[in-house]
Symmetry: C2
Subunit: 390 residues, 2 copies
């Protein structure tokens, strides 16, 4: 149910010895074709990890035969030496798979600012190549090998009645933020698609999935989402149907990341409606989703709508306080920025919280809405991130 | 050493019964003249509390005779009824002081979304008027009456050799954010100044004091800084000297707020140098100061410079990774976005942390720099804000 769900892919996930814990830390995904279209979306952080710089470069061809991923080190802020390690890793994959280094994307995740152990990584690539297999276990081994502070592996797949499949995996638990909420995600498909369609479909899917998850507002140096198409089903996919399926897989993976985010005790959805534009809806939802006072209130199961209203009020978007309504878990608490309901009626004892903010500036068929998913700010988040060093 | 340090002012702080705890919750500051210039800076939140709307309106005259402040309720998101309470409070002050309501500013702080008890507030104004006095105790009573989650009152004063004084008080511990970090602050002076000079001096002072404090990125609905000038010293102040003195008082008050911020265990200064512009320097410093992963690392005394570099990298400012240096508590850890020093050499066991980020895009006399003060993200912050209801 992951990167090997689609036909034409083999994968492996192993413990190469990069992590001191001895846990799985290196994964390889190989596209056996017959086709090799690929697309990627990368972090917009100006400080980019070496593997991001490498992968952006090779993806200008719109084609990939393999992806190698490691946890246990981000290979970020590692300078020329770090770039050489990423390059050497791609060369090693090219040798064992039988393609050019230009056909190999590299992804890394872990602590920023430490060099990866070059020989350990290269030996790991050779070991992983020996274990390449199709079938669900191989896909699950990839999902396991890319975990850092994740507590569960994350996989998703959708099969279209027309005969093609999209499946993928992701990792990510902290440093999850605006535009590109994931740290690393690889999705594969056996549908027959041209490069432009694949690229457009990925951008659309990311926009409504990973980009709408914001755990802590911190944008990583390593964020990467890749999609590889083997064409092995022999079935040409309708672009719109394929985009919908890819979006579904990406949303499913993003929701799994939200549920497993660092220190999460509440899964919060902020839904903004009636905005002056879709951008405004996203901005207001993201501002609320990032507000430490909103997030701590939710941790305390406190329906503190005043903090939600205040947060909407400082969002860089068009707001008319007299039209601002706040509803939490179905209870209208604030109408026109004035107290409306009784906090006591609002039950936040469960794990899921829905914060609805109606801006009253658009509606009906012309209404602009957006949803951002986030988590609460808990003691466990503070604990995990004050001691993080994996 | 506070609002009564300057000549021409009387003040009182009392327990009016707004707070259920019975603690002091209402303060009155009266300018006995001979002059009555005043200036104010208010929150830029689009959701403004009733007292902010009232005070902005009366300040268009550039003159104030009195300020009434209450804790125990923000009078925000309270609609027409809330505005009527603010208006009635000003009318009551006008009556007891002997001026017009248009000469009275109103400030409130506390929970958003609850009506203030009107008769309790009005009776409190009458009681406070009976206790108006000059002298340091009266100023300290004001500082005490405006506290919410503050643990200590905050006061500051500077006397110029020319013969005039500036003194003030502030409150603020949470919801401290961009542009206007304070919740409420009143500063008085007996210098002789015209309105335009006073207004310009306040904007300059706030820009380099309260605006450079960012505890949690949340902008309040009630933020207000007021300065009142009595002219009672009879000494005309040089505008530049006065601006410097006012800035010193405001910076001192802002530093007291930082030290007393909710759940603080570290006082963090983020200093950005070599930026392409001063705005860029502020943006980068603020982005780092707000980053939850930087703040939790500091709480854990972990010199995690990778998070600082990543945070600079997603700031909306000009950044060249190859010129990005990070120094923490004097130890250069990252040069050109590449690991440079040993984390082990960096001692974060103390309470003060200095994060220096050199962007390498300007220098010397043309260098653009900025400092933002913030705090760590601790268990106590989460605890206090998940249970806040004062």
């Amino acid at each position: 149910m992951s990167v090997t769900a689609a036909q034409g892919f083999r994968a492996a996930g192993i413990a190469a010895g990069i992590k001191k814990s001895g846990k799985a830390d290196l994964a390889l995904v190989v596209n056996d074709g017959p086709r090799a279209e690929a697309a990627g979306v990368f972090t917009r952080n100006k400080v980019k990890a070496a593997p991001v710089l490498w992968s952006q470069q090779v993806l200008t061809t719109g084609s990939l035969r393999a992806v190698v991923l490691n946890s246990g080190g981000a290979n970020a802020c590692t300078g020329a030496e770090g770039f050489q390690v990423a390059h050497a890793t791609a060369e090693q994959v090219a040798e064992v798979v039988g393609c050019g280094a230009i056909d190999v994307a590299v992804c890394s995740t872990g602590l920023i600012g430490e060099q990866l152990p070059r020989e350990t990584v290269l030996a790991g690539v050779r070991s992983a190549a020996a274990e390449l297999a199709s079938g669900p276990e191989a896909g699950s081994a990839v999902a396991a090998a890319i975990m850092t502070t994740d507590t569960v592996p994350k996989e998703s797949a959708v099969t279209d009645p027309a005969g093609w499949t999209v499946g993928g995996t992701t990792k990510g638990a902290g440093m999850i933020a605006p535009s590109m909420a994931t740290m690393l995600s690889v999705v594969t498909t056996d549908a027959v698609l041209d490069r432009a369609t694949l690229d457009a479909a990925l951008r659309e899917a990311v926009r409504y999935s990973f980009d709408r998850l914001d755990v802590d507002g911190s944008m990583s140096t390593n964020d990467t989402v890749l999609v590889l198409a083997s064409g092995a089903s022999g079935v040409e996919a309708d672009p719109a149907v394929f985009t919908a399926a890819l979006t579904r897989v990406c949303r499913d993976l993003a929701e799994q990341m939200q549920a497993d985010a660092e220190g999460v005790t509440k899964r919060i959805t902020v839904r903004v409606t009636g905005a002056a534009s879709e951008d405004d809806a996203v901005t207001v939802a993201r501002t609320i989703a990032r507000d430490s006072l909103v997030k701590t209130a939710m941790f305390g199961s406190d329906p503190n709508w005043g903090r939600v209203a205040a947060s909407a009020g400082y969002a860089d978007a068009e707001i008319d306080p007299e039209r601002l309504d706040v509803t939490i878990n179905g209870v209208l608490l604030c109408k026109g920025a004035v107290v409306a309901g009784d906090r006591a009626d609002c039950d936040l004892s469960g794990k899921d919280v829905l914060i609805e903010v109606e801006l009253g500036l658009s509606g009906g068929a012309d209404g602009h809405t957006a949803e951002i998913r986030t988590t609460d700010l808990s003691h466990a988040y503070v604990e995990e991130n004050s001691a993080y060093s994996s």
